[in-house]
């Protein structure tokens, strides 16, 4: 589920009539918003039957599929924008998914929950328990979020994969700010979420 702040940010990064793929589009909320506001040509992939049902019933183009399995079917540079919002942590092979996204999209927008946020660190430090958050509220044994990471982890992975981060943003107490200094440890400590705009380095 994409919150309204992310929705507005993502919308501002998209040009009218862009061809957009939303991986893990849920009930299609974001695609619907973008079709309305930016007249995009939207396509979604969603694993849950309920999500696909709600999306298609809204008139969106969404296939029932799996980010881990189905991205390989798309041709290179098929989309202007590929969005992965709150989904990367639920994939089995995040690295592969990331590589596939960059292959099929000219530009990728990725939103991840940041487990480096100080409150989550405290949960482990003080209580000695896996962090449970408002948006990721399932306990460790039943959560679909099997590959959680921090903003720092994600930036390191991008470096490792030769992916260039064009721009990045962070969500702090429901306030989205542009990350000006990606090296600063404060981004990781003070943000609940990171938003990255990526392209494959040439």
């Amino acid at each position: 589920m994409t919150n309204i702040l992310n929705q507005n940010l993502i919308s501002s990064l998209i040009t009218h009539n862009d061809k957009v793929l939303d991986i893990g589009c849920g009930n299609g909320e974001l695609l619907y918003f973008l079709e309305d506001n930016k007249s995009i040509q939207g396509q979604g992939i969603e694993i849950s039957h309920q999500g696909v049902k709600e999306s298609v019933s809204k008139g969106l183009s969404v296939i029932q599929g799996d980010a881990d399995e189905d991205l390989i079917n798309f041709p290179d540079h098929a989309f202007d924008i590929v969005i992965l919002s709150d989904t990367l942590q639920a994939t089995h092979k995040p690295k592969k998914v990331l590589e596939q996204m960059l292959r099929i999209g000219k530009k990728c927008i990725i939103c991840i929950p940041n487990f480096g946020y100080w409150k989550y660190r405290l949960q482990i430090l003080i209580y000695g328990k896996m962090p449970v958050t408002k948006t990721l509220s399932e306990p460790w044994y039943s959560t679909p979020n099997i590959h959680l990471c921090t903003i720092k982890d994600f930036i390191n992975l991008c470096e490792h994969l030769n992916i260039s981060i064009n721009e990045s943003y962070r969500n702090t107490k429901n306030n989205i700010k542009k990350i000006r200094n990606p090296k600063s440890y404060l981004n990781n400590l003070l943000s609940t979420e990171g938003i990255f705009i990526l392209t494959k380095e040439k």
Partner: protein, 277 residues
């Protein structure tokens, strides 16, 4: 049935065509529909929708006349028959052709017709339209009467049901047409027309697709629809796909199944909205 078929009188002989009727294909059916559309002066279709063999026609439309349609809704179908699909059809055809009343297709003036053959063909086909669960739920081992006949009458309700399906079909369907139509489905293979590459079939197709399959359909299982989705993804086509939960087998597409209508109407109104109609 339909337009012309094996029971139509051949002008050259003044007899029904029978087996002299030419083999026709799914593409021939679509070409005929195209003629109708043209004669009605319709330039572009808003949507082409169909299930099973109708779904094959939808796919043929999308592949052969990509600029003639805005959206396509193939339901519970495939781009080609599997070996099992062909096998079931073959049993049905053999039942007809082995009926002594078939007379190599020239039964029209003989005062009788291959009733038993066609009826058996329909019984077999009917089993493939349902699911094991649907049969079990509908009939279980329920009996027609309280005692067994200790013979081969229709003791079980499922037997009586199938016999009824078979005999009632004979009155409304020509046996030879059954041969020809099942053959058209067997011969259909969209990938084969493009050297085995299904994605090539849709390379020029810009229409919106909604593909629907049903969980308990074992005649055209979801894996068939998923192959279609993959092929359409290869051309980054505008495609929606959903597998609907249903225990009613292939027949689901003819029934009021949960979610099915919501999805169809959502897709159709979404498409209409984009066209401002």
């Amino acid at each position: 049935m339909g337009t012309t078929g094996p029971s139509t009188i051949n002008a050259a002989t003044s007899e029904p065509y029978g087996m002299e009727f030419p083999i026709f294909t799914i593409k021939d059916m679509v070409n005929l529909q195209l003629k109708l559309i043209e004669s009605l002066n319709i330039k572009k279709l808003f949507s082409v929708i169909g299930g099973s063999m109708g779904g094959m026609q939808v796919l043929e439309w999308a592949a052969s006349y990509p600029n003639m349609l805005y959206s396509a809704i193939p339901i519970a179908t495939s781009y080609r028959h599997s070996a099992q699909n062909i096998a079931f059809h073959e049993v049905g055809r053999q039942a007809i052709m082995n009926d002594p009343e078939w007379h190599k297709g020239h039964y029209y003036n003989k005062g009788n017709k291959p009733r038993h053959g066609l009826s058996v063909a329909r019984m077999i086909a009917h089993i493939t339209y349902l699911s094991e669960g649907a049969f079990q739920k509908k009939f279980g081992r329920d009996m027609q009467s309280k005692v067994l006949s200790w013979g081969f009458d229709a003791d079980f309700q499922v037997e009586s049901y199938l016999r009824h399906q078979g005999t009632s079909f004979v009155d409304r369907f020509d046996a030879n047409s059954y041969l020809y139509i099942t053959r058209a489905m067997d011969y259909f293979d969209l990938a084969n027309n493009h050297k085995g590459n299904l994605a090539q079939a849709f390379i020029n197709t810009k229409c919106k697709f909604l593909i629907v399959s049903f969980t308990s359909d074992w005649l055209f299982p979801s894996s068939e629809s998923q192959s279609l989705v993959k092929a359409l993804n290869k051309t980054a086509s505008d495609v929606s796909y959903i597998e609907i939960e249903s225990d009613k087998g292939h027949d689901s597409f003819l029934l009021e199944v949960n979610d099915f209508y919501d999805i169809l109407s959502g897709f159709i109104s979404g498409a209409a909205k984009k066209l401002n109609i």
